[in-house]
Amino acid sequence: MSTRLSTGGRLIDRTKPMSYTFNGKRMKGFAGDTLASALLAGGQMMMGRSFKYHRPRGVVASGAEEPNALVGLGQGAAFEPNQRATTTELFDGLSATSQNHWPSLEFDVGAINNRLARFFPAGFYYKTFMFPRVAWKKLYEPIVRQSAGLGAVPKERDGDTYEHFYGFFDLVVVGGGISGLIAARAAGRAGLRVLLMEQTAHWGGRAPVDAAADGATVNDAPVDKLVEEIVADLATMPNVTTRLRMMAAGVYDHGYVLGYERLTDHAPEAPGPRHRLWRIRAGQIVTATGAIERPLSFAGNDIPGVMLASATRDYIVNYGVSPGDRVVVVTNNDDAYRTAIAVKKAGLDVPIIVDARAAGGGALAQAARDLGIRVENGRAIAKVHGKKQVEGVSICAQAGEGGVLEEIACDAVAMSGGWSPVVHLWSHCGGKLTWDEAQAHFRPDVHNSPKGDAGETFVTPAGAANGAMQLGDVIADAGEMAGRAIAALGGTVRAEPVTASAPDEVPMQPVWLMPQGAGPKLRMKAWLDYQNDVKVSDVQLAAREGYESVEHTKRYTTLGMATDQGKLSNINGLAILSDALGQPIPQTGTTTFRPPYTPISMGAIAGTARGAAFQPLRRTPMHSWHEENNAHWEPVGQWRRPYCYPRTGESHAEAVSREINQTRSSVGLLDASTLGKIIVKGPDAGRFLDMLYTNMMSTLKPGKCRYGLMCSENGFLIDDGVVARLDEETFLCHTTTGGAESIHAHMEEWLQTEWWDWKVYTANVTEQWAQIAVVGPKARAVLQTLSDDDLSAETLPFMAWKEVTLAGIKARVFRISFSGELSFEVAVPAGQGMALWLALLDAGAEHGIMPYGTEALHVMRAEKGFIMIGDETDGTVIPQDLNLHWALSKKKDDYLGKRAQQRSHMADPNRWKLVGLETLDGSVLPDGAYAVAEGVNENGQKRTQGRVTSTYHSPTLNRGIAMGLVLHGPDRMGEVLEFPGTDGTVSKARIVDPVFYDKDGEKQNV
């Protein structure tokens, strides 16, 4: 049983005990523990259940690669599923729950899957669950989903905050082990701006742990000393930024690095954001990301108590935790001997070291023997005994089929299948790998590196991440590779004499299956991917069935698709696949490495953009008045516009009717400030607008306004609005609210990229002006009370504009109308919008003046048969469809969209055309309804002959009115069409003129 040792633990502080709960049980640990080390110290070896078979699982690793020990962390608004116990720092009051079991971790009904495992090989679900057809949705899938899944579902809105940071550095060093520290110091001394990040809470990485076992020294001093020295050096360099608890999540094109800093995961009571996402641009990146140990594939290698040799060592050296009293070590390399030595030095027993190599190990093996440890070469583990805890192992010959030579009782197994460099970041952005035959791993192929914007290498691997596995080599490689990155940045490197003294190691020997000739029974119990329950037999099955590509095998078996993304399993899996296919491993290749390196919180990705800050909110100068006066808002792009202003007890429809009736009978006000306003100025401004608008703008006289249409070059109507000529060289183009930015961009695009020799400037002044429409028969009377200027029809006729002073404010008044009423659109500098608004309300009080919202605006324009961009148009409509031929200049040779409109389909007389629609019973036609025609088309769909584009209840006419596009519509006045609803009803409507109100336009022209 695992327990806390009485001494040792370089990372824990025994003077600071901490208490936490696991599945509700109160437990103890120390400051510096991870949750995994604290659980082990408390005798809790079993920490979870596997995904598919619900097998009992213990912790197998000590870092980011852990596949088994996943917990639900925290409660309520701070709950987080799938947290790795190995990377969770213990804090006082931590609460964790194990996952994927019911009713309890100890007794899990889902473990029935384990009994039936033989019937659930890889991909069994592709071959079953097909009959009867409805059963997948109703029966099988719910069972599959419930038994799969993993963590519990967070229930509450996230109680934490997150933030983003930008970082710009010459060199980013990823990894705070020996290599990263050496690289960062060299770059710091070269005067570069450096960021060094380490994902754990400690500098130094593995080297100090290894040194604790083998006595290695650097510059004749303990390795810990060098770490301290460099960290102290870095702290004195103002050009070097260092961060613990920060991981490089991904490397993206052109030197973009995504950093993930966990600020308060270890101290939830601390103020500030929980996570910080760094968006970093780096000139060069050094990946000193170390290596990850591989498991060995033998039967029962997933039973709690079987652990990576390196993890076993970490728990003893770093946390003073023993994984068991009797630890069997099984290996194919020298490194695992360090574990045996560490176990022995901690006063625990190592009954045997099982070395699969016939020739055995080197100096470290001798050191182990000298400690009295029994070492057997050419041996293997045939099988591990135990269910929820290791009880013993059967030993056999590695070369054989598993005939048991000996049974050995033990409560822990430390395994090592060799080491794989962490090549993820190298690979994210196109770095290629090369197979290192001697060390049986993929390492970066530095001749095929990720390339930056200038085609330069921008990622350099260093140390173990580059395949250097022994301390001396690691230090030498880190120095050399850092030098390359620094030189690429134009820096110079001073030689740093660092000499290591560590035991020499003899070569490892690849062992992909243990024993080599293991039969099907053993292979079915030899795990590759722990979390997803993929075994050696599954990969072999995939190969047998023709899923030969490594991607096929991955997807068929789910190998490497769990939350650890195959950090432990991928190399072992593709070795098994290669063997099954009879091809060398490099020919099989790897699956693609994708960001993030380990999972990062969605909250961090979103950053501060939540709730009210989700998107910027644009406010008109009168926004606060609308808010205070109970506006019901309608989002329009990033603006909000008042839809209507309901009064107490009033429905929205009633409010809209009231607003329209008031406006039509007396006077109303509209905040029209969101309308786009673009200044187009210069000697060629008229010529330019003639190309942009379908009608002629160059002939417009200063002081006059003209309604214009804009089409895309593809012929479709994209925007409309009134153009006012301010002076000979200056036009003011009004656009729709949604069009302000896009139309301005459209203008600039044509000006800059096609007609760049034309002398024209544009400026989007939308937000510089507040614009208020004063609308209704009393509009002039209201305005006149605020002005001494003449606003009569003679001096300011319809479709003219002039500058006047209103309530002491200089204003532009445009006599334009989108309602059919006498209407003045008044523009004043934005800062004076509210003052004018209030003055108008005051001046109009005697006429009962009130504001109206967007819905009243829509209804009134529909009563007049005016089109609305986005209603009558949808990106597929051309002006000809809307009978707007009058706005298509015949005099111009060219305008944007003209050529397009000459194409056969656009010139087709059978295009649907705009008409008015009036229901026979006065009801409102359903929005978006289609008019049906006879029969069905060749795909069996009901034929149609038109559709509703706008439909409203008109309070003015007290009936439903609508506009629509209908086949040959204008030629079919009076015909009745049928519009089926979605509820089985059919509405009948007559084709009529789209102008329902004041057909001759007398009201607006007074």
């Binding site: 949705k137 989903r145 939540r610 929005d927 795909n939």
Partner: protein
């Protein structure tokens, strides 16, 4: 072909599953085929399958430069729906959706079609009107959809926040028989069925040239030698322009990266697919428990299968706004696929200027859901020279100005 069934699995279990045969053969190419399909993704394999099943044409090779199903078939977010606005789109997507219903049984391969329902959220008045229009159109197209209330949305998706401060949910377009399927299985199931019909699926074989005589195709050059054919179908997604160039014509296509991501798996919490076009995000939960999230496309040409991270940020931001609880989930993996996008963002299923050469491409962000319908229609087009399903998707539409524009209904990738 040995049939798959629970019984077969049980029988093989007694032999440690060592008796299973290959799902598809691995043949060397013959000298000549009646039809060569280039591209063994979902669309190419489905085309071959329906050439055999519906038209009796089985002397067919499907050649693939990588491995079958290795392109966008295995990189999408697996959504299946047919609630399209335009008749021609609705026809082919609904055909596809209905074929998905029985695909597992037809192919004897469980593709796990899960008709769990798809909601497209309406979060502006404009969207409300747009989806009401789509619902009306769908009713006449024989596509079963309905416009539902915010309360019904909340019932279907308990984890949603319908009162979001910026974009409250105003309703939704609900297609109860939309859903998801296991993407890889679609390619594998078709491959197995095609192989069983005697068709040759030739992987790791790249086309190096297209041979023609008198304006008519006669065969292809490949890295495994020359192969003669009577007809040639080009079904290669992001590489269409490259193949078209070999045949001597150009396409109205550009290739861009589309991104997606998944969270770590959690227990079932969302039983339907939700698409939120205003805030640009969509999400479903896989059978494994991962939240599968679709992101946006880059606006620049790109063949790297990597996208820009700011799209991921935008998508996640939007989804947290709609589903606050996902803030505490973690992103497990993000990836990109290369999609080819046409001028009207609708696909091309068409004859070409070279007689006997047909092209199926331009599916943009919506290809997976169309696979069986696309194969069904494209096979008919190749076999008979005409298919009502593909009639509106010809190359000639760009010259005529006759577009199939769905951006009216959905402005977001799917």
């Amino acid at each position: 072909m040995r049939r798959y069934s629970a019984w077969a699995v049980a029988r093989e279990a007694t032999r440690y599953h060592e008796g299973w045969e290959r799902a598809w053969r691995a043949p060397e190419p013959k000298k000549r085929y009646d039809v060569v399909i280039v591209g063994a993704g979902g669309h190419g394999l489905a085309t071959a399958y329906y050439l055999g099943k519906n038209h009796g044409i089985t002397n067919v090779a499907v050649i693939e430069k990588g491995w079958l199903g290795g392109g966008n078939t295995g990189r999408n977010t697996t959504i299946i729906r047919s609630n399209y606005l335009q008749d021609s789109s609705a026809a082919i997507y609904e055909k596809a959706r209905s074929l998905y219903e029985t695909m597992s049984q037809d192919l004897n391969y469980n593709v796990m079609f899960s008709p769990r329902g798809v909601i497209m959220l309406a979060q502006t008045e404009h969207e409300v009107r747009g989806y009401q229009r789509t619902a009306h159109a769908n009713a006449l197209q024989g596509v079963s959809t309905e416009f539902i209330s915010p309360q019904r949305v909340k019932e279907l998706v308990p984890i949603i926040d319908i009162s979001g401060p910026r974009y409250p949910v105003l309703g939704g377009l609900w297609q109860a028989r939309g859903g998801t399927a296991r993407h890889d299985a679609v390619a594998w199931g078709y491959a197995r069925a095609c192989s069983d019909m005697g068709m040759d699926i030739i992987q790791k074989c790249e086309v190096t040239g297209i041979r023609q005589e008198g304006g008519r195709v006669t065969g292809v050059g490949t890295t495994k030698g020359a192969i003669d054919c009577g007809k040639l179908g080009i079904v290669v997604a992001g590489h269409s322009g490259h193949l078209a160039e070999m045949a001597g014509f150009r396409l109205p296509l550009e290739s861009v990266a589309l991104q997606a991501l998944v969270s770590e798996p959690i227990k079932p919490c969302m039983d339907v697919v939700v698409m939120a076009n205003t805030v640009h995000g969509y999400m479903s939960q896989s059978d494994k428990g991962e939240m599968v999230i679709g992101g946006g496309t880059d606006a620049f040409n790109n063949y790297t299968q990597r996208g820009s991270f700011h799209h991921i940020e935008e998508t996640v931001r939007a989804l947290i706004e709609t589903f606050p609880m996902i803030s505490r989930l973690k992103m497990l993996r993000q990836w990109g696929g290369i999609v080819d996008v046409t001028g009207d963002r609708s696909p091309i299923l068409s004859k070409t200027p070279v007689e006997g050469v047909f092209i199926n491409s331009g599916w943009g962000t919506g290809g997976f859901k169309a696979i069986p319908g696309s194969g069904f229609g494209f096979a008919e087009l190749m076999a008979k020279g005409y298919s009502p399903l593909t009639a509106e998707f010809g190359l000639n539409r760009f010259a005529e100005g006759r577009f199939v524009d769905e951006s009216v209904a959905a402005g977001v990738a799917h």
